[in-house]
Protein backbone atom coordinates (compact mmCIF):
# COMPACT_ATOMS: atom_id res chain seq x y z
CA UNK A 1 0.00 0.00 0.00
CA UNK A 2 2.84 2.33 0.97
CA UNK A 3 4.48 1.45 -2.33
CA UNK A 4 1.40 2.55 -4.23
CA UNK A 5 1.43 5.85 -2.39
CA UNK A 6 5.12 6.30 -3.24
CA UNK A 7 4.39 5.52 -6.86
CA UNK A 8 1.57 8.02 -6.84
CA UNK A 9 3.91 10.65 -5.44
CA UNK A 10 6.45 9.90 -8.14
CA UNK A 11 3.74 10.23 -10.73
CA UNK A 12 2.49 13.50 -9.27
CA UNK A 13 5.97 14.96 -9.12
CA UNK A 14 7.12 13.76 -12.50
CA UNK A 15 4.09 15.25 -14.16
CA UNK A 16 4.29 18.44 -12.09
CA UNK A 17 5.89 20.70 -14.70
CA UNK A 18 3.03 20.18 -17.12
CA UNK A 19 0.42 19.78 -14.40
CA UNK A 20 0.96 22.75 -12.13
CA UNK A 21 1.87 25.22 -14.83
CA UNK A 22 -0.24 26.26 -17.72
CA UNK A 23 1.32 26.20 -21.17
CA UNK A 24 1.16 29.62 -22.83
CA UNK A 25 1.69 30.78 -26.38
CA UNK A 26 1.38 34.13 -28.10
CA UNK A 27 1.85 34.72 -31.84
CA UNK A 28 2.16 37.79 -34.01
CA UNK A 29 2.51 38.56 -37.69
CA UNK A 30 5.93 40.07 -38.40
CA UNK A 31 4.49 41.87 -41.41
CA UNK A 32 7.20 40.40 -43.63
CA UNK A 33 5.36 37.23 -44.60
CA UNK A 34 6.40 35.37 -41.45
CA UNK A 35 4.79 34.54 -38.12
CA UNK A 36 6.55 34.48 -34.77
CA UNK A 37 5.15 32.45 -31.88
CA UNK A 38 6.49 32.58 -28.33
CA UNK A 39 5.93 29.75 -25.88
CA UNK A 40 6.34 29.46 -22.14
CA UNK A 41 4.78 28.27 -18.89
CA UNK A 42 2.79 30.20 -16.30
CA UNK A 43 5.63 29.93 -13.75
CA UNK A 44 7.87 31.84 -16.14
CA UNK A 45 9.83 28.77 -17.28
CA UNK A 46 10.91 28.50 -20.89
CA UNK A 47 9.33 26.41 -23.62
CA UNK A 48 12.76 25.99 -25.18
CA UNK A 49 13.04 22.58 -26.86
CA UNK A 50 9.30 21.83 -26.64
CA UNK A 51 7.50 20.67 -29.81
CA UNK A 52 5.44 23.14 -31.77
CA UNK A 53 3.72 22.56 -35.09
CA UNK A 54 1.65 24.34 -37.68
CA UNK A 55 -1.37 22.45 -39.00
CA UNK A 56 -3.57 23.00 -42.01
CA UNK A 57 -6.68 20.85 -42.49
CA UNK A 58 -5.51 18.57 -39.66
CA UNK A 59 -2.13 17.93 -41.30
CA UNK A 60 1.19 19.18 -39.95
CA UNK A 61 2.83 21.47 -42.50
CA UNK A 62 5.64 22.61 -40.23
CA UNK A 63 7.15 20.96 -37.15
CA UNK A 64 9.80 22.47 -34.94
CA UNK A 65 10.96 22.97 -31.38
CA UNK A 66 10.92 26.30 -29.58
CA UNK A 67 14.35 27.95 -29.77
CA UNK A 68 16.60 28.81 -26.84
CA UNK A 69 14.72 32.08 -26.48
CA UNK A 70 11.39 30.22 -26.48
CA UNK A 71 10.15 31.30 -29.90
CA UNK A 72 9.79 30.08 -33.48
CA UNK A 73 9.46 31.91 -36.75
CA UNK A 74 7.85 30.38 -39.84
CA UNK A 75 6.52 31.43 -43.23
CA UNK A 76 2.90 32.51 -42.99
CA UNK A 77 0.78 29.78 -44.62
CA UNK A 78 -1.88 30.87 -47.08
CA UNK A 79 -5.41 30.02 -45.93
CA UNK A 80 -6.58 28.76 -42.56
CA UNK A 81 -4.05 27.27 -40.16
CA UNK A 82 -3.48 26.65 -36.48
CA UNK A 83 -0.32 26.68 -34.37
CA UNK A 84 -0.11 23.95 -31.75
CA UNK A 85 2.22 24.09 -28.76
CA UNK A 86 2.32 20.46 -27.64
CA UNK A 87 3.25 20.40 -23.96
CA UNK A 88 2.08 16.82 -23.38
CA UNK A 89 -1.23 15.11 -22.80
CA UNK A 90 -3.97 17.64 -22.28
CA UNK A 91 -1.55 20.55 -22.07
CA UNK A 92 -1.50 21.88 -25.55
CA UNK A 93 -2.23 25.40 -26.64
CA UNK A 94 -3.81 26.06 -29.99
CA UNK A 95 -3.69 29.49 -31.62
CA UNK A 96 -5.88 30.05 -34.66
CA UNK A 97 -4.12 31.80 -37.56
CA UNK A 98 -7.14 34.12 -37.83
CA UNK A 99 -6.28 35.56 -34.41
CA UNK A 100 -2.68 36.32 -35.34
CA UNK A 101 -2.25 39.99 -36.16
CA UNK A 102 0.63 42.43 -36.51
Amino acid sequence: MKKIFALCLVFVFSSAPAFAHTALMSCFDEGDGTITCEGGFSDGSSASGVDVRVEQNGKAIHSAKFSETGDINFTKPSGDYVVIFDAGKGHGVVVDGKDITE
Binding site: L24, M25, D99, T101
Partner: protein, 273 residues
Protein backbone atom coordinates in the same frame (compact mmCIF):
# COMPACT_ATOMS: atom_id res chain seq x y z
CA UNK B 1 -17.44 89.70 9.70
CA UNK B 2 -17.98 88.93 6.06
CA UNK B 3 -14.27 89.23 5.48
CA UNK B 4 -13.54 86.82 8.30
CA UNK B 5 -16.00 84.23 7.00
CA UNK B 6 -14.58 84.48 3.49
CA UNK B 7 -11.07 84.15 4.86
CA UNK B 8 -12.08 81.15 6.95
CA UNK B 9 -13.84 79.57 4.01
CA UNK B 10 -10.83 80.14 1.77
CA UNK B 11 -8.65 78.69 4.50
CA UNK B 12 -10.74 75.58 4.81
CA UNK B 13 -10.75 75.06 1.04
CA UNK B 14 -6.99 75.43 1.03
CA UNK B 15 -6.54 72.91 3.81
CA UNK B 16 -9.05 70.50 2.36
CA UNK B 17 -7.34 70.48 -1.01
CA UNK B 18 -3.93 69.77 0.44
CA UNK B 19 -5.35 66.77 2.24
CA UNK B 20 -5.65 64.85 -1.02
CA UNK B 21 -2.63 63.12 -2.39
CA UNK B 22 -0.81 63.83 -5.61
CA UNK B 23 -0.39 60.86 -7.90
CA UNK B 24 1.60 60.54 -11.08
CA UNK B 25 -0.53 58.38 -13.33
CA UNK B 26 0.90 56.04 -15.93
CA UNK B 27 -2.46 54.95 -17.24
CA UNK B 28 -3.41 52.35 -19.78
CA UNK B 29 -6.92 50.88 -20.01
CA UNK B 30 -5.92 47.22 -19.58
CA UNK B 31 -2.89 45.67 -17.88
CA UNK B 32 -3.58 41.96 -18.53
CA UNK B 33 -3.67 41.46 -22.29
CA UNK B 34 -4.61 38.20 -23.97
CA UNK B 35 -2.34 39.02 -26.89
CA UNK B 36 0.18 41.65 -27.89
CA UNK B 37 -0.76 45.01 -29.34
CA UNK B 38 -0.26 48.74 -29.20
CA UNK B 39 -1.16 50.34 -25.88
CA UNK B 40 -2.42 53.84 -25.27
CA UNK B 41 -0.62 55.44 -22.32
CA UNK B 42 -1.50 58.65 -20.51
CA UNK B 43 0.87 60.37 -18.09
CA UNK B 44 -1.11 62.70 -15.86
CA UNK B 45 -0.21 64.27 -12.52
CA UNK B 46 -3.48 64.40 -10.63
CA UNK B 47 -5.54 63.42 -7.60
CA UNK B 48 -7.07 60.18 -8.87
CA UNK B 49 -9.87 59.91 -6.33
CA UNK B 50 -11.09 63.47 -5.91
CA UNK B 51 -9.82 64.89 -9.23
CA UNK B 52 -10.11 68.40 -7.84
CA UNK B 53 -6.94 69.64 -9.56
CA UNK B 54 -4.80 68.47 -12.48
CA UNK B 55 -1.20 69.59 -12.13
CA UNK B 56 1.07 70.79 -14.94
CA UNK B 57 3.78 68.14 -15.16
CA UNK B 58 7.26 69.62 -14.80
CA UNK B 59 6.17 72.93 -13.23
CA UNK B 60 9.09 74.94 -11.79
CA UNK B 61 9.18 77.78 -9.22
CA UNK B 62 11.70 79.88 -11.11
CA UNK B 63 10.49 79.56 -14.69
CA UNK B 64 7.30 79.44 -16.74
CA UNK B 65 8.78 76.64 -18.83
CA UNK B 66 7.59 73.18 -17.88
CA UNK B 67 10.39 70.63 -17.71
CA UNK B 68 10.19 67.43 -19.73
CA UNK B 69 10.35 64.11 -17.86
CA UNK B 70 13.85 62.92 -16.94
CA UNK B 71 13.32 59.38 -18.21
CA UNK B 72 10.66 57.08 -19.58
CA UNK B 73 11.41 53.53 -20.58
CA UNK B 74 10.11 50.00 -20.84
CA UNK B 75 11.68 46.73 -19.72
CA UNK B 76 10.76 43.44 -21.35
CA UNK B 77 12.64 40.16 -20.76
CA UNK B 78 15.39 42.18 -19.09
CA UNK B 79 15.85 44.45 -22.11
CA UNK B 80 15.43 48.19 -21.59
CA UNK B 81 13.90 50.35 -24.34
CA UNK B 82 14.06 54.15 -24.17
CA UNK B 83 10.59 55.59 -24.76
CA UNK B 84 11.29 59.31 -24.29
CA UNK B 85 10.77 59.88 -28.02
CA UNK B 86 7.21 58.51 -27.82
CA UNK B 87 5.95 61.21 -25.42
CA UNK B 88 3.59 63.80 -26.90
CA UNK B 89 2.47 66.85 -24.95
CA UNK B 90 -1.27 67.00 -24.30
CA UNK B 91 -3.66 69.01 -22.23
CA UNK B 92 -5.53 66.60 -19.99
CA UNK B 93 -8.97 67.71 -18.84
CA UNK B 94 -9.75 66.91 -15.25
CA UNK B 95 -13.17 67.64 -13.75
CA UNK B 96 -11.87 70.93 -12.30
CA UNK B 97 -9.21 72.11 -14.74
CA UNK B 98 -6.86 71.04 -17.52
CA UNK B 99 -3.17 70.34 -16.96
CA UNK B 100 -0.06 69.65 -18.98
CA UNK B 101 0.29 65.90 -19.44
CA UNK B 102 1.70 63.44 -21.96
CA UNK B 103 0.26 60.80 -24.26
CA UNK B 104 2.25 57.95 -25.72
CA UNK B 105 1.82 54.65 -27.48
CA UNK B 106 3.70 51.52 -26.56
CA UNK B 107 3.99 48.42 -28.67
CA UNK B 108 3.66 45.50 -26.26
CA UNK B 109 4.12 42.72 -28.77
CA UNK B 110 6.24 40.10 -27.08
CA UNK B 111 4.69 37.64 -24.64
CA UNK B 112 5.48 38.39 -21.00
CA UNK B 113 5.73 41.42 -18.75
CA UNK B 114 6.38 44.94 -19.93
CA UNK B 115 7.46 47.16 -17.03
CA UNK B 116 6.94 50.85 -17.83
CA UNK B 117 8.81 53.40 -15.74
CA UNK B 118 8.34 57.18 -15.76
CA UNK B 119 10.73 59.55 -13.98
CA UNK B 120 9.07 62.97 -14.24
CA UNK B 121 10.88 66.22 -13.56
CA UNK B 122 10.26 67.46 -10.01
CA UNK B 123 7.00 69.43 -9.81
CA UNK B 124 6.79 72.66 -7.83
CA UNK B 125 3.86 72.57 -5.41
CA UNK B 126 3.28 76.22 -4.50
CA UNK B 127 0.94 75.31 -1.60
CA UNK B 128 3.83 73.58 0.13
CA UNK B 129 6.69 75.64 -1.39
CA UNK B 130 8.31 72.30 -2.16
CA UNK B 131 8.95 69.93 -5.04
CA UNK B 132 7.43 66.50 -5.63
CA UNK B 133 8.96 63.88 -7.92
CA UNK B 134 6.93 60.71 -8.29
CA UNK B 135 8.87 57.90 -9.93
CA UNK B 136 6.14 55.69 -11.33
CA UNK B 137 5.78 52.11 -12.55
CA UNK B 138 2.94 50.40 -14.38
CA UNK B 139 3.26 46.77 -15.42
CA UNK B 140 1.48 45.22 -18.37
CA UNK B 141 1.40 41.51 -19.19
CA UNK B 142 0.87 39.83 -22.54
CA UNK B 143 -0.63 36.31 -22.63
CA UNK B 144 0.12 35.33 -19.03
CA UNK B 145 3.85 34.61 -19.13
CA UNK B 146 5.52 36.13 -16.05
CA UNK B 147 8.94 37.59 -16.92
CA UNK B 148 9.83 40.96 -15.39
CA UNK B 149 7.04 41.99 -13.02
CA UNK B 150 9.11 41.43 -9.84
CA UNK B 151 12.36 42.84 -11.17
CA UNK B 152 13.91 45.82 -9.45
CA UNK B 153 14.75 48.55 -11.94
CA UNK B 154 17.19 50.34 -9.62
CA UNK B 155 15.12 53.52 -9.45
CA UNK B 156 15.96 56.02 -6.70
CA UNK B 157 12.54 55.47 -5.21
CA UNK B 158 10.81 52.22 -6.14
CA UNK B 159 8.02 49.95 -5.03
CA UNK B 160 8.98 46.41 -5.95
CA UNK B 161 5.83 44.28 -6.20
CA UNK B 162 5.49 40.98 -4.37
CA UNK B 163 2.14 40.38 -6.10
CA UNK B 164 1.68 40.50 -9.87
CA UNK B 165 0.16 43.97 -10.27
CA UNK B 166 -1.98 42.86 -13.22
CA UNK B 167 -3.35 39.64 -11.69
CA UNK B 168 -5.45 40.77 -8.72
CA UNK B 169 -9.00 39.64 -8.10
CA UNK B 170 -11.26 42.12 -6.37
CA UNK B 171 -11.16 41.28 -2.66
CA UNK B 172 -7.64 39.87 -2.72
CA UNK B 173 -4.50 41.79 -1.84
CA UNK B 174 -1.49 43.59 -3.23
CA UNK B 175 1.91 43.42 -1.52
CA UNK B 176 5.07 45.33 -2.26
CA UNK B 177 8.30 46.49 -0.76
CA UNK B 178 9.35 50.13 -0.63
CA UNK B 179 12.95 50.77 -1.62
CA UNK B 180 15.22 53.81 -1.52
CA UNK B 181 18.18 53.41 -3.91
CA UNK B 182 17.81 49.63 -3.55
CA UNK B 183 17.43 49.52 0.24
CA UNK B 184 14.13 48.71 1.98
CA UNK B 185 12.52 51.65 3.77
CA UNK B 186 11.27 50.56 7.24
CA UNK B 187 7.86 51.93 8.19
CA UNK B 188 7.60 53.85 4.91
CA UNK B 189 4.56 56.09 4.70
CA UNK B 190 2.33 55.01 1.82
CA UNK B 191 -0.72 56.70 0.37
CA UNK B 192 -3.26 54.60 -1.49
CA UNK B 193 -5.85 55.97 -3.88
CA UNK B 194 -8.48 54.49 -6.13
CA UNK B 195 -8.70 55.84 -9.66
CA UNK B 196 -12.25 56.98 -9.14
CA UNK B 197 -12.95 58.15 -12.69
CA UNK B 198 -13.09 56.55 -16.12
CA UNK B 199 -10.27 57.90 -18.25
CA UNK B 200 -11.29 58.86 -21.77
CA UNK B 201 -8.12 58.30 -23.82
CA UNK B 202 -9.75 59.71 -26.97
CA UNK B 203 -10.70 63.02 -25.36
CA UNK B 204 -7.85 63.05 -22.81
CA UNK B 205 -10.37 63.68 -20.08
CA UNK B 206 -11.57 62.32 -16.74
CA UNK B 207 -15.14 61.11 -16.37
CA UNK B 208 -17.37 61.73 -13.35
CA UNK B 209 -16.63 60.19 -9.96
CA UNK B 210 -17.69 56.56 -9.58
CA UNK B 211 -17.77 56.28 -5.80
CA UNK B 212 -18.20 58.72 -2.93
CA UNK B 213 -15.95 58.70 0.11
CA UNK B 214 -17.78 58.86 3.48
CA UNK B 215 -14.94 60.95 4.92
CA UNK B 216 -11.55 62.33 3.86
CA UNK B 217 -9.61 59.38 5.34
CA UNK B 218 -11.12 57.26 2.56
CA UNK B 219 -10.05 59.55 -0.26
CA UNK B 220 -6.36 59.05 0.38
CA UNK B 221 -5.83 55.98 2.50
CA UNK B 222 -2.70 56.21 4.61
CA UNK B 223 -0.89 53.00 5.46
CA UNK B 224 2.62 52.17 6.63
CA UNK B 225 5.13 49.53 5.63
CA UNK B 226 6.47 47.15 8.27
CA UNK B 227 10.04 47.10 9.65
CA UNK B 228 11.26 45.52 6.39
CA UNK B 229 9.57 48.07 4.12
CA UNK B 230 6.88 45.57 3.14
CA UNK B 231 3.18 46.30 2.95
CA UNK B 232 -0.03 44.52 2.00
CA UNK B 233 -3.29 46.18 1.06
CA UNK B 234 -6.65 44.49 0.44
CA UNK B 235 -8.22 45.62 -2.82
CA UNK B 236 -11.97 46.13 -2.31
CA UNK B 237 -13.00 47.21 -5.81
CA UNK B 238 -12.14 46.49 -9.43
CA UNK B 239 -10.11 49.10 -11.27
CA UNK B 240 -6.81 50.87 -10.89
CA UNK B 241 -5.24 51.49 -7.48
CA UNK B 242 -2.20 53.70 -6.95
CA UNK B 243 0.36 53.32 -4.16
CA UNK B 244 2.71 56.21 -3.40
CA UNK B 245 5.54 55.83 -0.89
CA UNK B 246 6.18 59.39 0.21
CA UNK B 247 9.73 60.71 0.45
CA UNK B 248 11.10 57.22 -0.15
CA UNK B 249 13.98 58.32 -2.37
CA UNK B 250 17.37 59.65 -1.20
CA UNK B 251 17.07 63.10 -2.84
CA UNK B 252 15.59 65.63 -0.42
CA UNK B 253 16.41 68.94 -2.11
CA UNK B 254 15.86 70.42 -5.56
CA UNK B 255 16.74 73.97 -6.61
CA UNK B 256 17.25 74.87 -2.96
CA UNK B 257 13.79 73.72 -1.96
CA UNK B 258 12.50 70.67 -0.17
CA UNK B 259 11.94 67.66 -2.44
CA UNK B 260 9.72 64.67 -1.77
CA UNK B 261 11.00 61.88 -4.01
CA UNK B 262 8.16 59.37 -4.04
CA UNK B 263 7.80 55.85 -5.43
CA UNK B 264 4.51 55.10 -7.18
CA UNK B 265 3.11 51.84 -8.52
CA UNK B 266 -0.26 51.18 -10.16
CA UNK B 267 -2.14 47.89 -9.89
CA UNK B 268 -5.37 46.77 -11.51
CA UNK B 269 -8.00 44.54 -9.91
CA UNK B 270 -10.66 42.54 -11.75
CA UNK B 271 -14.02 41.22 -10.55
CA UNK B 272 -14.64 37.46 -10.42
CA UNK B 273 -17.51 36.94 -12.78
Amino acid sequence: MKKLIVTLAAGSIFFASTAFAHFQMLYTPESALTKGGTLQLRHVFTHPFADEHTMDMGKQHDSQTLLKPEAFYGVHKGKKTDLMGTLKEISFKGNANAGQAFASEYRARGMGDHVLAMVPAPYYEANEDAYIQQITKTIVNVAGLPTDWDSELGLKAEIVPLTKPYAIWTGSTFSGIVKSAGKPVPFAEIEVEYLNHDVDVEKNAMGPANVKAPQDSFVTIGIKADQDGKFTFGIPKAGWWGFAALGAGPDTEYKGKELSQDAVIWVQARDMK
